[in-house]
Subunit: 237 residues, 6 copies
């Protein structure tokens, strides 16, 4: 597991601009093909997210351990996680893709929001989803399910590498979310991904403007020499 | 199968306030863990529903029985059901989770609405879903599919216990729906569930206000003695 | 494979009015039971679509052929398809239902829109889905995924019969889309389907008005002799 | 629902010879395309089965009704069914395709075998499957699962039409099983299906002998006039 | 997580006799309903297994960490696990149910066998499955897949609580396997489960003998007073 | 698409020896990670297969084209394929993974066997599977289903690149099958894959012998210098 490295403000600024589609392409060009959480969608209108993974892992519930529905803030990894995440953190939950119960409700999500968390992501469901959808803090899930998490899930541990929606997420990974979903960026690649994504986004804005104006794909996408020269002239302006 | 019991107006009033998430928790505390219809969502903006289950069961279509696309109001259980449901009834359809055809269209849904039905729920799909979504009567389904129900489904019988979205639904069960989905409450538990859910909802409103104001989970959720005393003071006011 | 036949303007006009639910019923009455794309939904608010199938087939990617992320407009069937579709064409993509990668992004969809395409349909996912959703040209997919198409898909060939969402689509098939989804009509049936659907839609509008006014199903849906006579009087007016 | 009719001994004898593949083809020629239980396989080496459907329906368990693990032979529909099936009956269980628990164990299956039942079919799992596999009475299921049926299933009623593995099964339907699986034949078609299947099987034996001897498909399968004449000569011998 | 307790030889002897079906019922009577690994089957004829869980967790592979196909015995948790398991241990692998790659091959399984391991269980696939199937050491999996584990899986850590085939498995849990599959028993319940299972198995052997002899369910299963008295007489002999 | 190249006899001999697990690893080392057909298993005891892909593509059936159940050897691509395959060919069928109908029966499989075909592979089901399982020619499928192929499938074309069980298969690809399943090798890699696989298999036989003799993983797998020297000495003998 690569060491967790700090991300500069400049890189954060660059990472917030491009779409997850652009970031996924840049990562694929670096050989990382499986970085987008399949099937995980934003709950509400606030879907622009940037932060670092704080991981929480659930395993299946077992009746003698989980049926009390009592929650102990001192020992329950879910509760501990909520009170540890802070500004810039995205809580990422490995729920094994099991949507037969919620993985978090409105009170805990609100607490995270008050603590300044950058977002929350699960490959299962949220409960109280209409309330969570209205938080300013972005939230991503497969679906909504009203059942409390202990029906199906046992909060097991935190800050370990996890699986989320088929993608490996390591603590400290950079997570960017938009209306389309969430992409995972290994931190040691964040600087170069940020720069290349900004450049690609800029280039594609130029291209899509030309396409809207009637340019054909040939010569435009990818750019031939003439178009590239024209693009470079616009860069200088 | 427990006998169907009338629900008092007071209980109905209490049941309409809490979210399905709260009701599901109260039921779990009573040992009923599988009461929320997994994967069934409201079609349109009207999603607040309260009523009692009137069940309709479909089995797979067979070509010699179902390919005519003629419908006989006198013998077709679907048609009979539509003309039997009345105020306070929620038609619940067991479609085996099969989404490859509709289970009801706009004309029948409109008829139910005119008859005063409280809602309609299927673990399959609706057809004419844009029209149904605009009815004042809430409707819940897995998805939309334009095919007529006889393509895939044969209306078989009514008012028997059924499976809907993985949950047992008995005729007369209390169904509460909101933006998150639908919860099934056995009628013999309705009174106590209603009271406990109202109390829990009230308590959680108090808690979420404190969390919004910056209180940590410890001491607040669950409440410690000091917070509980404070909460009880607010109850007396 | 039946020969591709031109569709008259009058038929197009008739086909644009009815819902996909009505068209699916008319096709079922003719013995065609599997004509609606299961699980494929409109991306944005523009969902009224009418056009003819221009097919594009993907197979799984293979690393030595697809990992370069270079795109050649002269040889890539996806790129060739984009520059061949024109007014009245609906690009239909066979993505094997695999949602683990996009099948098209904003630049190509925009190009198709500029070329006058009537729509685009995939049984996989789109990337840049927020941008595509805002195009005037309707787009239908199972879901959104940010990964570039070559992660999962290899554009293989065009204008062959394909599978899309469990339905056979032949080049030239008539595709009609609305808020509910997409129906496939063999062109040799288009004229009669159009006429019968218009008649059925007209009849059902009459019926639903009566149902809204309180008429029971019996005598109204299906119509008995008295109602039919009343309906025929309205036709004459 | 067509009335249940007796099947003659001659028809039974004819029905026992052909494979389920042949019977499925004969039914398809009569317009019945969905008659084979998808995904249901024989448990053990005894897989030749012929009998009539005695149906049993399960719905999801509910904790207050099903968690006692006490079984009452007088009221439990599963127990009642076991003591009602007799010679020529095949117990067919609608388990909603849910394989997360057994639907029957060795003691009940043995009792059915002692009573002379012709077989047992479930679209869920059996428990004690190694013991059931060794019974002389054929048994078909999707899989094996050790959990008792009340974990997941509530025996609901018997002798109603059911869904089993995606196929409609009516009480009294003729069920034929072999190593490949189980086909459902409506009894009003049993005589003609039996005769045509016997004829088809005979014809295909002739064809496969020719194919083994080196004959090409053309002229052989389907037979041209010369081959048909040759076949008819063999019929006369 | 309950503390891991030693299991006495007497308990092991009792646990090896009953079927997983009997053990699952005994656990259900104690309120533990989800203890059998759904969909996990023995690979070969050696399927009688008894041991304690040694857990190994996989997460999805990431190309920059996993594509080398070099394996380091000093740091790879899979390799470390293999050299730590000993007599009485069952290696249980959390492969997220992903069958698109192997989770272990013949060389490592052979090494575990040589080290005296009691078995190996995965909720994914094995590679070299024909070789593993012939080992004396029992092995359980969902299926077989030839791809090396690093194609899909990243060995992450060991001896943590895991999910396997939908069931929670804690290090030290007692695992019993037979031809039907694998059941998980919390160690603090092992003694009483062992005793009750032995008693139940003995009782059911008596019952099934009576059923084979023609006794009806009523009076026999469950036993009435007369049968129970008869059974108790046999106990004394 | 790379050109189809002949495979030397020496390469064939080398390719027949190693397991599909070994071949899949060698391909992964060359950057091809997705070459094994997930979920496709041998039908019978004859599972050692080596040959080149002859592809056949099915799309969903449409009633007006496929319901006649008449088969025309002159125009039906399935029939044409059967009479074109010869010694060394493996017919590979793209059935979209749809197991709700057979993709081939005993007569056609027998004809292929008589023509000397090396095998047949489908990502759907076979019908007459007990007969096909007994052919000397190996056959691989997901499952068995008695329905004729035209119930679900329309034979569409042959010798195009296809998808089979999630893997791209190009005409002429080298297919190797064993008890575990089927691996696809691009022909331009066949020589080097063959040589490296033979070497790897030889090396792994040496390793597994040492492991059986009690050697630990460290120093043995992977080999350290001493073990490698010992291995090289055995090579010289």
């Amino acid at each position: 597991m690569p060491e967790v490295q700090p991300i500069s403000n400049e890189t954060w600024d660059l990472l917030k601009a491009p779409s997850t589609a652009t970031l996924t392409t840049v990562l694929a060009k670096k050989g990382l093909w499986n970085t987008f959480l399949t099937g995980v969608k934003p709950l509400g209108p606030n879907s622009k997210m940037a932060g670092r993974a704080f991981t929480l892992r659930y395993i299946p519930a077992r009746e003698d351990l989980d049926s009390s529905l009592e929650f102990d803030n001192a020992t329950d990894p879910q509760r501990i996680a909520i009170e540890q995440v802070g500004p810039g953190d995205v809580l990422v939950i490995d729920a094994r893709g099991d949507e037969r119960g919620g993985t978090m409700g409105a009170i805990l999500a609100t607490r995270m929001h008050v603590r300044g968390a950058a977002g929350v992501v699960t490959d299962g469901a949220f409960r109280d989803s209409p309330v969570i959808a209205e938080l300013e803090m972005p939230a991503y899930a497969r679906s909504a399910h009203a059942a409390t998490n202990k029906t199906i899930h046992h909060p097991c541990d935190l800050q370990l590498p996890i699986a989320c929606a088929g993608v490996a997420v390591y603590p400290g990974d950079v997570l960017i979310g938009d209306e389309e979903g969430v992409v995972v960026i290994p931190p040691h690649l964040a600087d170069e991904v940020a720069r290349e994504a900004a450049a690609q986004e800029h280039r594609e804005d130029f291209i899509i403007d030309k396409i809207r104006g009637g340019a054909p794909l040939v010569g435009t996408y990818p750019m031939d020499d003439a178009t590239r020269a024209e693009y470079e002239r616009t860069l200088k302006q």
